[in-house]
Symmetry: C2
Subunit: 321 residues, 2 copies
Amino acid sequence: MDWKRRRTLSSGAVKRVAIVGGTHGNETNGVHLAKHFMRNPQLVKRSSFETEVILSNVAAIKQNTRYVEEDLNRCYLLADLQSEEKSKSSLERKRAREVDAVLGPKASESPRCDLVIDLHNTTAATGVALLMAPDDEFAHEIGHHLSTLDDSVRIVEWNDQPDWPLCPSVGRSGLTFEVGACPWGCLEPELFQRSRRLVSALLDYVDKHNALIANGKREEVTMKVYRSIGVSIDYPRSPDGDPVGHVHPELQGRDFKQLRDGDPLFMTFDGEEEKFDRKALKVPEKYDSVYALFVNEAAYYEKKVALMLMSCGEAKFSKLA
Amino acid sequence: MDWKRRRTLSSGAVKRVAIVGGTHGNETNGVHLAKHFMRNPQLVKRSSFETEVILSNVAAIKQNTRYVEEDLNRCYLLADLQSEEKSKSSLERKRAREVDAVLGPKASESPRCDLVIDLHNTTAATGVALLMAPDDEFAHEIGHHLSTLDDSVRIVEWNDQPDWPLCPSVGRSGLTFEVGACPWGCLEPELFQRSRRLVSALLDYVDKHNALIANGKREEVTMKVYRSIGVSIDYPRSPDGDPVGHVHPELQGRDFKQLRDGDPLFMTFDGEEEKFDRKALKVPEKYDSVYALFVNEAAYYEKKVALMLMSCGEAKFSKLA
């Protein structure tokens, strides 16, 4: 599959946008924002394209749990979607196929949806982190626009693998709204309202984009982006796997903070400090500066991730003007 | 049962204290604080009494969920514990009997534990709210002592029913540490450390109390307490039961805030404000002033509770000096 060729181009028309809630069933802000749009379809209707709103992991939403059998947002690799055996192996694998059929399918070079917006929440204090593929130009220009509207919007390039298992990857282009800090099962008032406004502004932007196509004039944009460097750090644990320390109080709630050698990282339950140490954590030397992301995300305890490290750089791209 | 006669008196010796974690399996701070004490028993050992640490809902802890079949912290009514049929009706009912046998039993006038400390967390911004029975003198004096050590400690009289279904009620005296805001599944650094210090100070206090008994000198104490008035308020909901509004951003995170007619209470998803209205909410006239508690607790969506109302008053009691 030539993933790049499949993308919505920054010069192309957007015919259909999908808004997805409940890929994780306990990320309540996103679930209820999607339901709000389903109840009030005029809010997401725009003249130049269609908008569809779906709930993805309905079983997990019902149980107010992240997933029932496995993480749905790791089920969208093309090879997995195409494997008959794999697709029958869990409730989420089955659902991934259904969602893929509606939004993609991923195997198609002309998927149904040109843009997939997946609404997530996190217990980490990410603000509004927009996760996207590094080669997804259209997602970048949307991210750039939203970042001009709200200081808490940050752009995160999630990874540079050719295929990736997250929901937005089944459409042409897509992005994950990762909004926090928000506890599981909770509507967090400020973040809910901010997400609602930003999704609405996103749809307006796509509408405007479609109108600018005939014109064809372009402008260059430079934007700050955070990039996953593939290094994550686990909590201090006892031999039986239980955590015996937590994130350091000075790091808690400080997503996107730069981490330097000697910075406080964890605190043992007894109050002993553990410091950040690039060498011990095998941070590749080529990254001069590294930044924390998903600090103390509840769902990542089981993934053995207390935080991930990002680099920060610039993305350059052009957009219709 | 003469509940009052069963209590640990403010003049009596404490021979055994129980610390309970995981009555709700996803209240992670409390679970890991209890495990920390189990790993390091010297931290909770005092010379004048025994301390036992137990995990109550082990199945729910394993699943990182509040409960498996029903809320364990509603399973400790004496009549329910004594009913053969009821005790077999859920995993939690069975476990309640086991916990009761270890800490109580409740049917006994001389239960094993003189004081039961149950470690909870909440997504509401309660700080450290100590929940206790209005007639539990010893719990009150402990609460008073802890409130002198930490400004975020508040005393809450939970209800005035003769019997109550919460875990601490199976021992003589007891209190619930309700600590928040803390997301489900998360170790919240500041609150974890604060809880650890306060539990330690509590044990020191009990130790000192035991030493003062021979002396017998007493002093009078007056303390501010919040009291449940039995009124709770549900989220705005659609006819199908889904919330269509959240706590107002000005109320979010403001537990113990006084609510006056016209104060912002909810916001609909579209951003419309709903105001607090005593009459519409049937707040009894005898309560001049009312205060919010458990504002936006994730577990209470299913209980149809967005917040509870409290009155505020004074408790007077005497303690050994």
